[in-house]
Amino acid sequence: MSDYEERLRGLLERALQGDEAAYREFLQALVVRLRAFLRRRLTRAPDEVEDLLQETLLAVHNQRHTYDRSQPLTAWLHAIAKYKLIDCLRRRARRELLHEPLDDAPALLAAEDRDASDARRDLTKLLQALPPRHRGPIECVKLQGLSVAEAAQRLDMSESAVKIGVHRGLKALAAKIRDEG
């Protein structure tokens, strides 16, 4: 087992038991590798790397319960990254087929002066477009850092409705990204 595998696995196991610091560290360790993975494979669309990276992170987060502890974690992560990459390339191909002429020089130039670490798609805006039953819990718990009990009180919802709202809301966000692209 590689060091990376072991380290990530240790972090994720702690994260799944509710250790948020370990989870943040896990995601940060993942970001660095994922960005390199995607950049190597999206050489023709460098300005989409950060968008796809964010989409993949969201997918890892939403699907983290599908990880089977008896299997290598890096294989699971790789399968998600590959799935999202292929999905993105397919959407891109369709979009270009519909809208963009083949000799699209201005877009290439425009892409060059952008900071590569800036996402083009703004997740904050997409979050705001979610229905209130999803947006409220996400804003309170995930953005302002309230506890579930505090969020439930502020939103006048039950605690389980807040948890479900966060869970479904993040899935709805992933769906929005998918449909938009």
Partner: protein, 213 residues
């Protein structure tokens, strides 16, 4: 939103989020689907009056075991494929074994049979309507399994869809055994298999649309 901020957002309160898994949803969904499945079977075709008599024959139970084994293998395969990076591995054998067993029984039936009797064994009395009826009865389970699979994360959408469809086909065939009078292995090994493959093919076709995440 910067990626850094997304990481912070995802990590915050992550321990408190609801967890749900396809593994928990599939049995619930299938259990609920059994009610409309059997209602549909009773309304459209009806329980066979000679069911009690037939149940004394071992082939009746072999037939039940056959469709249940295929349905369960489909279910197990769908759940396995619902995890990123998972491979079917030995589950392939779980899918192939009931099929091979039924074909062996069919061969044992057909080889000693007289020339003219073979067609009668294979065609039975209901070969024409059998596959479509199984496909119709698998509809409630099809909807249920695909609903449950929304909590899964398959990376091979066609294969996962086919497995989910096969599971539904097993449920449909199970319900149909309460109506169907056929007990020849030669019949079951062909028409029942086609009947269960119809929802499997529909699943493979719809998988890329319904199972995306």
């Amino acid at each position: 939103m910067k990626t850094e901020r997304l990481v912070a957002m995802l990590a915050r309160g992550a321990g408190a989020e609801m967890r749900s898994a396809a593994a928990h949803r599939v049995p619930i969904a299938l259990g609920l689907a059994l009610v409309p499945t059997f209602a549909l079977m009773q309304i459209l075709y009806g329980v066979r009056p000679t069911l009690a008599v037939d149940s004394a024959r071992w082939m009746f139970w072999a037939k039940l075991a056959f469709v249940l084994a295929i349905g369960l293998a489909g279910w197990a395969a769908a759940l396995r494929l619902g995890r990123p990076g998972a491979v079917l591995a030995r589950l392939r054998w779980a899918l192939a074994a009931p099929l091979a067993a039924m074909w062996l029984l069919a061969a044992a039936e057909l080889l000693p049979a007289a020339e003219g009797g073979r067609a009668a064994l294979v065609l039975g009395q209901t070969w024409l309507e059998c596959p479509l009826r199984i496909a119709i009865l698998s509809l409630p389970a099809f909807l249920a399994v695909f609903w449950a699979m929304r909590e899964a994360a398959p990376t091979r959408l066609r294969l996962a869809g086919a497995a989910a469809g096969l599971c539904a086909g097993g449920v449909g065939a199970f319900a149909y055994t309460f109506h169907c009078p056929e007990l020849a292995a030669s019949f079951l090994g062909l028409w029942y298999v086609i009947g269960m493959l119809i929802p499997a093919a529909a699943g493979a076709w719809l998988g890329p649309r319904l199972l995306r995440w």
